[in-house]
Structures are given as C-alpha cells and as structure tokens.
C-alpha cells in the first residue's frame, strides 16, 4: 500500500518541490530565482523603454540641453517650468485643448451611451451591430485623419457636395477658426464614440433583469426606470470610460497634424502639438522635456482627483 498523498499544503508550490527536479535543471535555481529569471526580460524592457526615458526627460527638463546643438547640458533648475507656466502661448494651447477635451468627450459620452442603450434593447443582431459600430475605433488615426480631410475639403469634399445638393452653401470646415475645432471634435467623436459605447454596453448588460421586472410590476414609467435603475448602475463604469477618453483626448496629436496642422494660425494647436513644435522645430529639448513632464503631472493629478470621486461614489 502506497503512502497517501498530502491533501493540502501551506504553499501550493511546495507540492511541486516534493517531486524530484526535472533533468537538467540546476539545483541552485530556486522557485524565486526562476520567477526572477522569467520576469526580468519584461522588467528590463520596461526599465529601458519607459522608466529610463522618463527619468532622463525629468533630468533634461532642468537643463537648457538641445539635442542638435549638442554640448553639455547646463542646469537651469526651474526656469523651463517657470517659462512654460507663465507663457501666453502655452495658455492659449491649454485653452484650445480644454475646449477640445470637453467638447469631444461630452459628445462621445452622450452618443456612446445612447447607442449602447438602443443596442442593449435589441434581442436580434446585437453582436453584428456592435461589431459594425466598433470599426472606426480599429482604424489608424492617421488614416481616419486623411480620409476626413478629403471629405471635409471645401472645394472637392463629399460633405460640401452633399450640402450643395440640399441647397446649402459651402462650409470652410478646416480653414476657419470655429469650424476647424468643431471638425476636429466631430472626427474624434466619429472614431472614439464606439469605445464609450462598448463600455456602456458592458454596464447595461450587467444590470440585473429582476430590477426591471420589479419596476414593471410597480408600473414604473420608462423614464423612471432609466433614471433610478439603469443610469445609477452604469454611471461608475461610464465614468471610467470618460476618464480613459479624457486622458487620450488630452494627448491629441495625430488628428491635428493631419487635418489642420494646428491652423488656421495656431487656433487648433493642442498642447501635444505645441510640444512637438518646441521639441523638433528648434530642438529645444530641455523646454520640451519640462513641457512633457508638466503634461504628465496634470494628467496624474486630475486622474487622482477623479478616482477619489469615483471611490466616493462607490462608497455612497
């Protein structure tokens, strides 16, 4: 009769260590060593590609270093930060970015939730509809920018052609101050509404059906059910989607570059686009690093405040 195998163990991994090591495995390589060996490639990659560049940019942000001029980097401490925070040019770009983020994310949230709500009420073809709505999100922003640029062209674009056939006049979508920013918001909304829709749809399908059944027994109206059941349960999930989108929109570069190049003038230049110009037109690497670090700090601080609000909402 053989010995009975242990039923439980304090450390699941120890059960394996009772068995003889596989042939060829070094006796000195413990489980922990093995774990370190496995995670070290990813860790090294993370350090080399993310942590080091961030620390290096932080160091450069306190200097007057220029990547093309070369020469030693002189410490100027917080002078880059002071110049950025007091620059009227930066304030202008910050305002443009704020209007853009607010406009785009609000529109995407309303539309995304509305589409998700309508899809969730369908019983047939829901999967197909969801897949179709997700297509814009899967495209490269550069491709999206290029074909919208053609569509919005005042002379040859299909949008103005359609407006013309309806008897409406030509609109200068990309070359007027107001319409250029609106065009950017519309194109971003076209591409990223599906993201909000997807997350809202996940929230909507997770709402327990018995709540609606109870409400219909009480003869609650559609609006009452939406206001007291659907929205409160989906709201926290929707807020997380809004957070992701707001961070993405804050970093907007590609659509601006392709659609308007920041124009007319600098009226659609976002903060990211301005950082690009500072970094690559004059190769002011120190200033651009400080600019980038400040943008990261703003995102971190706002995200922390937002997450606290989310936690508070959860506790309530």
């Amino acid at each position: 009769m053989s010995d009975p195998a242990p039923l439980t163990t304090d450390h699941p991994g120890q059960a394996a260590s009772a068995t003889p090591p596989a042939p060829g495995r070094s006796r000195r390589l413990s489980d922990r060593g093995l774990a370190v060996a496995f995670i070290s490639p990813a860790l090294l990659l993370l350090l080399a590609m993310s942590v080091f560049p961030l620390l290096w940019a932080l160091y450069l942000s306190f200097t007057d270093y220029s990547a093309t001029r070369g020469g030693p980097a002189h410490f100027i401490w917080f002078e880059n930060y002071t110049a950025i925070l007091t620059s009227a040019q930066v304030h202008l770009r910050a305002l443009t970015t704020l209007i853009y983020v607010f406009g785009a994310v609000t529109l995407q949230t309303v539309l995304g939730f509305a589409i998700a709500y309508l899809i969730s009420r369908r019983t047939h073809g829901r999967g197909l509809l969801t897949t179709l709505f997700l297509v814009p999100m899967m495209l490269s922003p550069v491709v999206v920018g290029l074909f919208w640029r053609f569509m919005l062209d005042a002379q040859f674009g299909v949008i103005n052609s359609m407006l013309g056939s309806l008897g409406l006049g030509q609109v200068e979508w990309l070359t007027r101050q107001r319409t250029a920013l609106i065009s950017l918001i519309v194109v971003d909304t076209w591409q990223w509404t599906p993201f909000i829709m997807l997350i809202a749809l996940a929230g909507l399908t997770a709402v327990p059906k018995y709540l609606y059944e109870a409400a219909s027994i009480d003869r609650a109206s559609e609006w009452f059910r939406f206001r007291t059941i659907t929205l409160p349960l989906v709201w926290p999930l929707l807020l997380i989607a809004v957070l992701f989108r707001a961070i993405e929109a804050f970093r907007l570069f590609d659509l601006v570059y392709i659609l308007t190049s920041g124009g007319p003038g600098v009226s659609t230049e976002t903060l990211s686009f301005h950082v690009y110009k500072v970094a690559f037109l004059g190769f002011n690497t120190g200033t651009a690093s400080a600019y980038g670090i400040l943008m990261v700090l703003i995102v971190i601080v706002l995200t922390q405040l937002y997450l606290r609000y989310l936690n508070k909402l959860k506790e309530d």
């Binding site: 304090d10 080399a48 070369g70 002078e79 003038g265 690559f280 037109l281 651009a288």
Partner: protein, 475 residues
Amino acid sequence: MRYPKRIGRLSVPGRKVQLATAAMLVATTVAACGGQDDGAKASAPKAPATIPELTKDPLTLSFIWFDWPPAHALEAFANAEYKKERPNATIKVNTVPNANWHDAIFTQFAAHKTDFDIPILDSQHIGEAVTNGNILDITDFVKTNIDVKAYNPYLLAAYGQFPQAETGKRDENASLYGLPLLGDTWTMIYRKDLIGDKPPQTWDQMISVAEKCQTDHPGVSGLAFHQANGSDAAAVTYNTVNGVYGGNLWDSKTRKIDGVLNDTAGQEAMDVLVNKMKPLTAKGSGNWFIDEVNAAVAQGKACIAFNWIAASGGLLDPKQSTLGTTREQILDKLGFATLPSQKTNLVPLGGMGMHVSAYSSKTNQAEALNFMKWFERADIQKKWAAAGGVPSRKDALESPEFLNAGPFNQVYTDSVPRMRDMWNVPEYARLVDIENTNVNAALNGAKKPKDALDDIAKEQQGVLDSGSRKGGGGL
C-alpha cells in the same frame, strides 16, 4: 514550522534585484551623460580636398529628400547615368512627406547617426546644420574639384555658403557646405484662353486681370497660391509679395526684424495679400499648398496661379488635366511667365543643395564627394536638365537641352538674376513657423493683417534675441 515573515526588509534575492536595477539605471544615465560630449564641437568637420580612394565593393549611396517628382527623377537619372562610371554604386533617394522633411533629417543628426549619406537641405537649413556640425565643410574639395566660375555666383552661394550670401553676391572667402542640386523659383501660370496670350506685367495689373477673369467666368477663381500653415507655404507667399512691394524681411547686419518687416512697405504687402489677393481665391483654399494649386489649375478652376517650377511638370500631363487630351492642347490654354514686378522685380529662391552627412561612413563620404564632382560636370548638368532637373551652371541654364525640356524653363533662366532668399540662420525653422502660422491666420480671418504682421516681427525678433535666455527656449 512556519516562520513569520519579517516586515520592512526584503529577502536577499529581492535586494539583489533592486540593487541590480539601480546599478543599471545609474550606468545607463552615466553612459547617456557621457554621450553628450560627442556633440560639443560646434563647427562642421572638413572634407578632404581630394577624393579618397573609392571602394570596388557594391555600395548604396543614400539621399534623403521630400516626396515630389524631382526626387524620383533624380533616382532614375543617377542610376542610369552614374552607374555607367561607377557600376558598383546604387543610388537610393529616400523620401519623406514635405511637412516632415526638416524633422526627418535633423532628428537623425541629433542622434549623430544617419541612414543617408547625402541630405538634400533647403537653402535655409544650412545654417542649422553647419553650426551643429552635421554636414561636411567642402570648401577645400570645391577649390580642387569644382569650376566655381561656371555657376551663377548667387546660386552657388545660396545652396552651399554659410554665413548667408548678402545682396546676391557670393563671398569668395566664405566656406562652402554644399553644391546645387536643383534650382527653383515660382512661375506664374495663366490661362491664355481666359485672359489672353500676354501675361500681366505688374502685380497690380495681375490682380485686376484676375478680378475681371473671375467675374467673367463663374466657377473659376481669379487666383490660386500657397496659403497652408505647414512647411514654408504661406511664408513664401507673403515674402514674395513683400519683396515685390519693396519690403525687407530683416536687416541682416543688425539682426533686426521688428520695425523692418512691419514697416510701411511690409504693411502694404500684407494688405495687398489679404485684402486684394485672398478674395480672388477659391473658398476653403486657406490650406492649399503645391498639390492643391496644381489640382486647381489642372481642373480649370483658376485664371492665374503661382507654383514652384520644379513641381509644375504634372500640369502638362493629359492624364492629370481636364484642359486637353494632349500636351499641345494643354499648352494652348496654359501659359508660363516670370512673376510680375511692382516696386521691385524680386522673385523667391527655391531649390536645394546636396550636402555630405558628417555621420556617414568614410567609404560613403568618399563616394558622395565623387558623385557631387560627377554631377556638377557640364555634360551631366545638361543631361540632368534634359531629364527634368533644373541646373545651376550658367552653360546648362542657357543650353537647348534645358530650355527645350519644359515651357517653364525659360522662366527659370530669366528669373535667376531676380532671386531673393529668406534668412539662412540656425533659427530658420522657428522663424518660418512663426511667419507661416501668422500669415495663414491673416489669410483665414483668424487675425487682422496688421496684427499678424506685427506679431511676426515681434516673435521673430524674440527668437533672434533669445540667445542669452536660459529657460523656455522654443516657446
């Protein structure tokens, strides 16, 4: 027996990992700091006076340029002709979008490693490349190998000399960093069938002819020109009108822009551009550049247009035009002329020179110098002209090979003595961006013309004066 885990102290392997990580970060930082010393030199390294021995092994000589017809023409021409003398050499002209041209070259210069041997720089980029030590000083090489007297001195200076040539005269004592590859300037393209065979002679006349043409032919705009805020599009347009109306971009001796650019002549030029020329353009043309202007001409949507000569070849292609089914039919409708004059007869200098990357291998640098010597030969310049290129040698400019190759080539030859360039200073990229964005804003109603011009002068002056400023450079 289980021992309680000690709190606040890592196990030995954990500490080792942390120590190794810290050591790696320190080592990488030190290595990166050490790398900066490479860039301490602030002047261009010298190329040898004579061409070193060339390799007999297969070799690829790489250029970098922006994507337009002359880039493809150069690759085809060089591979067909240069290979006859150097069968082991292959020419590769790498192209990038026009808007990325400067960045694509200078980000590689910043890395002190280039995948190209011959960067084709805009004439105004030379200052930035020279002061950063990115391209070779070829003064001695030119003295030994190139017949400089064969060139129009201003073209030789514009595409190779630094500091910049003033008033169109070459400084014999200045160093040379490049040789001409492609000359260029604006041509006026006009519809002979709409405004007559004779092109307008003055700028004011041109505006009134365009106005009449627009009124007489609904659906066709009076003018088409560059207005975009990318590259140097809107800036070249304003600088052209500024020159024609007697304005100056700056006082190069005192490095003064504010008060010079926005003087009375400058204000008049901005007024003409925004209030007289812009109303004659197509609606929504505020982001037009080379391709859009060509498209408007080819589709018969403009009475008079301005474009770079080197980019005008496609206008004669019946496949791209609605003006005729043959080249002759198109030429019955399209005319090409030098720009009208007004208070002066200045025209913008376009085109580019060839340079040698300081970070290319010695073998490829030697091949690059050999290519430049070959390319500047009289017979090769004439062949290049016949292949669609725009040469800079005087004999090639007057040759039938060049003058018969395109209807706009005579325009170039006639325009050479009238050329004016922009500022050839290391701060060029920022100066042109300031001008581009503000002129574009004025053209599209985002700024009043006077405010835009004053902002250009003030901001550009700020860039030139910012040498002693410590923080916030580039804002």
